[in-house]
Symmetry: C2
Subunit: 422 residues, 2 copies
C-alpha cells in the first residue's frame, strides 16, 4: 500500500486540529483512499512549542520538509503573505502538492501560486480559505465547472455575522459588541481584516475567480465594512422588516464581473437573514440550476481542519496530470464598474427641523433621477431624522445625490447609507 | 487533445437536457478538463423519436453503444430497474464508466452495480440520483469522507414538499393539492413513489450508504408517506408554531444506523421549515464540522442534467485507478431498530365527549411511561378532538399506547400521528 507523507507548516489552532484529525481518522482515510496518509514533519515557528507533539516530528528548518522525498503534500497553516508565500512557492517547485487555508495569500498572490503549481504539475488546494468546512471551492471547481454560475451572494465572514446578530438581538452599539466578541474569542485582538470586510473580500476574490473562470484579486474587490453600522440603523431596519448582514456579492452583469463586499439590509424572510452567529451561507445562481445554497460554520479550528483534510484526500485521490488545471482561469472577463450597478439604498439623514427641508432633499434626489420609495421623519424640536428607502438607481447617481445632500446647510453630521437587497 | 465519447441511453426530458448542455458548454468543458467531450451515440427507446436530434447519432441497438471503442462514458437515463439494470451492468463490463440519475435502481441494486464497476476498474457516478443539482454525493464521498457524518436530515423530495407547502398555504386537503400538482406537472400521473416516501427512501439509502460507509438498500429504509396528512393537522400544527415536512432522517445511534422517511412537524423557525415548493435541503451533522446544509432544486430537467454533466466531468478528471473506490462501503454497521428510537409525537384523537375520557387516555399514556407535554381539547356536543404533544418516548412505547387507545370505546376513527422534530 502506498504511503502519502504530509509536511505541516505551522502548528497553531488549525495545525494541531489537522494533526489530531489525521491521527484519529487514519483508518477511515486509508479505507477511503487506499493509501496510508501519515504526518512526517511539523515545522514549528520560532517561539512556539507544542508539548503534545511527538518530538521526532518537529523541525525548525523548513528544508527538512522540502528535502524529504517521502513528503508528497505540504500543508501551509502559517498565515500571512510573507514566509507563507515563500514556503508555498518553494514547496510547489520541489514538486509537492500544497494545501492551505491562507485566504489573504490566495487573494493577493493566487495567480503566481497557481501558475507555479501548474508549471510543476502539482495541485494547490485551498478549500479552507473560503467558507471553512463548507466545500464551496470543490463544488464550484468540479460539480459546477460547466454550469455558468452568474451570481455568488452570501455571508462569508463569521466574526461580523456574529457581531451584527448580537447588535440586532441586544440593540447594543458596534463598539460594545466588538469588545464582547473579542472577549469571547469570536473577534481577534486586531479585528481590522474582519470588520473592514477585507477577509470577506479575499474569500470573494477566490470564489469568483473559480466561478467566473477569470482572475479576480483582492485589489479587484471593493469592500466596505461594518464599522459605521449603528444600533439606530439596525432598529430602523427592523421596523422596516429588514435585517443587516455583511454580504459578499459577485455578479456577472452584461458579461462583466462586479465583485464586492458591503453591509446590506435583507428582508427578514430572506434565507440569509436567518443565518446567525458565526455561521456562513452562500447562494450560487445559474440558469442551469437556478439557486443552490451552502451553509455551515465559517471558521473554527475543527471545521477548518476538516476542510484541510478534505483537500488532502482530494489530492491523494486525483492522479497527477489527470486534473492539472488548478485555477481554471481560462477566461479573462472584464470588470463591471460599481458606479454603473443598479442598487437600492437605505439612507438616514440628520436635518435641521425647519419648513422646506424635505422639499430641498427631495429636489436633490429628483435632479439625479433617484426616486423615493418611502420616507419616515422622526424626532422634533430643532433636529429631525429622515429615513429613506429609495427605488433602484445607478450607484453613481445615488452617490452624486448624497454628495449634494451632504453639502446642504440643513443636513448635519454624517449620513448613514446601507444597501438594500431583495 | 484527448476526446471523450459519450453514449446516452434514453433521450427524454433529462436526456435531451444533457444533450443540449453538452453542446452548449462544450468549450467550457474542454477548457476545464483539457478534453473534448462529445456525444457519439443516443439510444432511443422504441416508440420515441426526437426530431431535433442529429439522425447520425441515433441508434436503436444498444450494442452500437457498448461496442464503440470511442465511447468511454455511458449515461443511463432510461429509469426503472429492468432494462436500465441490464444496460448498466453491460456497460460496466464493457469497461465504460457509467453516469446515472436512476435512484430506484441504485437504491435496490447499488451493491451489484458498484461491485461490477469496481471489478472492471471503472467509475459509477450517480449525483443526479440524490438531490438534483445539489452535489451532496460528491460532498459526502470526497470532502467529508473522513468527517464521520453522524446525521443526514432533510427534505429530499420536491413533489411532496410542493404539496405540503401548498396545503399549508391554502388550507386545502391532500387530494385537491395532489390533483393541482399533477395538473401543473409537479406530480406524475402515478404519484405513488413520491407520496409514499419511496422516492425519498431510495435517496436516503444512497446518501446514507456513502455517509456511513455501510450498505443501506431501499429495503433498509422504513418509509411513511404524506397520504394521511390532513388539512386539520396542518392547521393544528400552525397553531402550535409547527410546519409539516416530509423528512429523510438517517442517524447513527450507538454506532448503529437508523434510516427512515416520515412526515414530521418542525418549529416554524427551523431552517427547513422555510424550504418551500419544489426545493430540497439537507443538513449533514458531524462532530468535525457541526452542521452543514445544502439547498437547491431537487428535480427538474435542467438541474438534473447539470448534475449529470458534473458527474461526467468528475469521471473525465479522475484518472482510472486513482480513485477506484466507488462505494466506500468498507464498514458493515448494524441497523438500529426504529422501535428503540426516542421520538416526540403529535397525536390527534376523536373521542366521545363524556366525563372521564381524558382520564382514561391519560392513564394509557401513563402505563407506557409516555408523558404529555401539552393537550388541547376542541369541539363539543357528542364528540371532541384531543390534540396532544408528547414528550420524547421510545417509539415502541408510544405505539403500544396508541394501540391501546385505538381499542378504547371512547376513541373513534383513525388517530392522526405525526412525529415532531426540534
Amino acid at each position: 500500500m502506498d504511503k502519502i507523507g504530509i509536511g505541516l507548516l505551522g502548528y497553531g489552532t488549525v495545525g494541531s486540529g489537522v494533526g489530531k484529525l489525521l491521527k484519529k481518522n487514519a483508518e477511515d482515510i486509508r479505507l477511503a483512499t487506499g493509501r496510508r496518509v501519515e504526518l512526517r514533519r511539523v515545522l514549528e515557528l520560532p517561539g512556539f512549542s507544542s508539548p503534545e507533539l511527538d518530538p521526532a516530528l518537529v523541525t525548525h528548518d523548513v528544508e527538512d520538509v522540502f528535502g524529504d522525498p517521502d513528503i508528497q503534500v505540504v500543508i501551509e497553516l502559517i498565515g500571512g503573505t510573507g514566509a507563507a508565500r515563500d514556503f508555498q512557492l518553494r514547496a510547489l517547485r520541489a514538486g509537492k502538492h500544497v494545501v492551505t487555508a491562507n485566504k489573504q495569500l490566495l487573494g493577493q498572490h493566487g495567480a503566481e501560486l497557481l501558475e507555479t503549481a501548474e508549471q510543476n504539475g502539482v495541485h494547490l488546494r485551498f478549500e479552507a480559505s473560503a467558507v471553512g468546512a463548507v466545500p464551496i471551492i470543490k463544488v464550484l471547481r468540479e460539480s459546477l465547472v460547466a454550469a455558468e454560475v452568474s451570481t455568488i451572494f452570501g455571508i462569508v465572514n463569521g466574526t461580523t455575522n456574529y457581531m451584527l446578530s448580537a447588535m440586532s438581538q441586544t440593540g447594543a452599539e458596534y463598539a460594545d459588541v466588538l469588545a464582547d466578541a473579542q472577549r469571547l474569542g469570536y473577534a481577534e485582538a486586531d479585528p481590522t481584516d474582519d470588520v473592514t470586510g477585507k477577509d470577506a473580500a479575499a474569500k470573494m476574490a477566490i470564489m469568483s475567480s473559480i466561478a467566473f473562470h477569470s482572475r479576480v484579486t483582492l485589489g479587484g474587490v471593493a469592500h466596505e465594512g461594518i464599522e459605521r453600522i449603528t444600533a439606530v440603523d439596525i432598529a430602523h431596519g427592523r421596523r422596516l422588516g429588514l435585517v443587516c448582514k455583511l454580504l459578499g456579492v459577485a455578479r456577472l452583469i452584461d458579461g462583466a464581473m462586479n465583485v464586492r463586499v458591503y453591509p446590506a439590509f435583507l428582508p427578514a424572510a430572506h434565507p440569509l437573514a436567518g443565518v446567525s452567529g458565526a455561521y456562513n451561507a452562500v447562494f450560487l445562481e445559474s440558469e442551469a440550476f437556478d439557486k443552490i445554497m451552502l451553509y455551515g460554520p465559517g471558521a473554527g479550528s475543527v471545521p477548518t481542519a476538516s476542510a484541510v483534510i478534505g483537500d488532502v484526500i482530494s489530492v491523494v485521490n486525483t492522479a497527477a496530470g489527470s486534473f492539472t488545471k488548478n485555477c481554471l482561469c481560462y477566461k479573462d472577463l472584464p470588470f463591471f464598474p460599481s458606479a454603473d450597478v443598479v442598487s437600492r439604498f437605505y439612507l438616514r439623514l440628520h436635518v435641521v427641523d425647519r419648513p422646506g427641508v424635505l422639499a430641498r432633499v427631495a429636489a436633490v434626489f429628483g435632479e439625479q433621477d433617484v426616486s423615493i420609495r418611502s420616507m419616515v421623519q422622526e424626532g422634533g424640536g430643532d433636529a429631525a431624522e429622515l429615513v429613506f428607502l429609495l427605488h433602484p438607481a445607478r450607484e453613481a447617481r445615488f452617490f452624486a445625490a448624497l454628495e449634494r445632500l451632504s453639502g446642504l446647510d440643513e443636513v448635519q453630521g454624517e449620513p448613514s447609507v446601507v444597501r438594500v437587497e431583495e
